[in-house]
Symmetry: C2
Amino acid sequence: MFSGYYTSRVHDLWPRDDDALDDLARYALLPHGKLLRPRLLLLCVAALDGDLAQAAAVAAALESHHTASLVHDDLIDGDAERRGRPSVHARYGTGQALLAGDALLCRSFAEVAECHRHGVAPDLLLDVIALAGLTGVEICRGQLLEERLRRDLACGLDAYLAMVTMKTAALLSATCRTAALLSGADEETTTALTVYGETLGIAFQMRDDLLPYRDAETVRGAGKPLSSDLRNGRPTLPLLLAVERALPRQARRLRRLFARAAHSARARGRLTTLLHELGAVEAATAVLESYVEKARAHLDHLPATPHREQLHRLTYAMGTG
Amino acid sequence: MFSGYYTSRVHDLWPRDDDALDDLARYALLPHGKLLRPRLLLLCVAALDGDLAQAAAVAAALESHHTASLVHDDLIDGDAERRGRPSVHARYGTGQALLAGDALLCRSFAEVAECHRHGVAPDLLLDVIALAGLTGVEICRGQLLEERLRRDLACGLDAYLAMVTMKTAALLSATCRTAALLSGADEETTTALTVYGETLGIAFQMRDDLLPYRDAETVRGAGKPLSSDLRNGRPTLPLLLAVERALPRQARRLRRLFARAAHSARARGRLTTLLHELGAVEAATAVLESYVEKARAHLDHLPATPHREQLHRLTYAMGTG
């Protein structure tokens, strides 16, 4: 149901066929992805008995914000594919992708401000905007840290967690917090949902890290090039756990294969085998599952409703189930 | 006076010495430029007898927004210098410059939202945020049009004006409109200031277009590489007016020199001579002066105060005086 609302909203915001920017924006936004952030926001609002019509416009704005960050992220990482087709910069070039991301970002703030018209209280919207702005800064901070950790297999789990918390979890956390703000939740519930979103976001990134190492069936249709992490020299969770478990000889091999994996499919294959041998994929899966369970537990602060059940299901879907 | 406030505000917002993003943000924001937009906003607020303390924080946020757009613009244009030193991407690389711009943009919206604490009415701030967001979109639209007009000497003055209005004038217009909103001005004054800002912005771009063709003394210290327009194949006002005035043989020579000017300082020199011969520099100066005068006339809607006099001076300073 939200999918239809969202699609027509994108066409309302970027309507012109003969306009280069509207064209770019529609290409970036549609066909849409899983709409995880809007769905999460709406489920939380429903669970808190908030106003769903008011929340829908904010949810759509969050998706613009998120899409802007994906467009720029693909540009930085040189990822040529997104959702099974050319990414914005691969299709339109660097300059246009940069401008598309900027425009989506700016529009998303205007979208939230305009929710005033849908009857959301102005001071509440200002809180949502301040949160979105600061979250955008956190995401950049996380991406910068990611740059710094590039090719660094010795960075350790703490640095990894700090990076993931800012880069990925911050927006999911802000999404859930926004739901609480819009629904007028009390402070305890607001904090619980904020932490829920953050924990879920960490799980989300860990799941993403694990995708290339799970069986082909699960992976097919993910629509992004699975070698992106390795091509970009990202120290993902399975790799970091492998480092912890490796004997000196294995660690040397791991570093060698990791260095070559950026350019060699063969090295990527061997690296995958080594990770399985070291039990790192299994260990990463266990860590992921622990975050999923931690996230779910935070939902106990919500009243027991069918919407909370749906949130449980969404949370478990982050696991490898 | 604003300079000191602004500098300490930047340090408050981006305080950490050991943080990569704070470091990037401070590099982009300080030492600051002419602070035209904040000064314009504050002068307009003063002229309307509004609250200057409240307006100062909004003015600083506008400068963040503007700086973000400069950082990305330099990246797109490959301009390696800004304010007499390496531009952000020249110093830190593409990825970090992209993230710095995104972070400044996001922070600027949060800055405006946080003005709630300084006592600005929430619904007013939402109007300012919506305006800033939509203006950000307009700027991107203008930059896209600029991309499309690249190397197109036959684009005509209408396309040039449309591009300039979005790329440069939109933010100056929004700046003056924001001042009117913050000061609770009536609709007529608000409209007059909006049009004033737009007209001033067009003059500002025309002045920038003319810089490389004015005498070296005036030009020295502008702190940006004066060949940028020609290197990027931009059809600036003097060039477009030269096209209008050229005989067929001169037009061919103009196109040839324009095509070579991107890579050859000698071609740039000859092109400059040709523009002077065609009277295009003089004609562009006359057009610029007419915009300056139009802009100034819109100030008649303001009460006659010393602040209005200062606005007159600021306006005339856009000319070649």
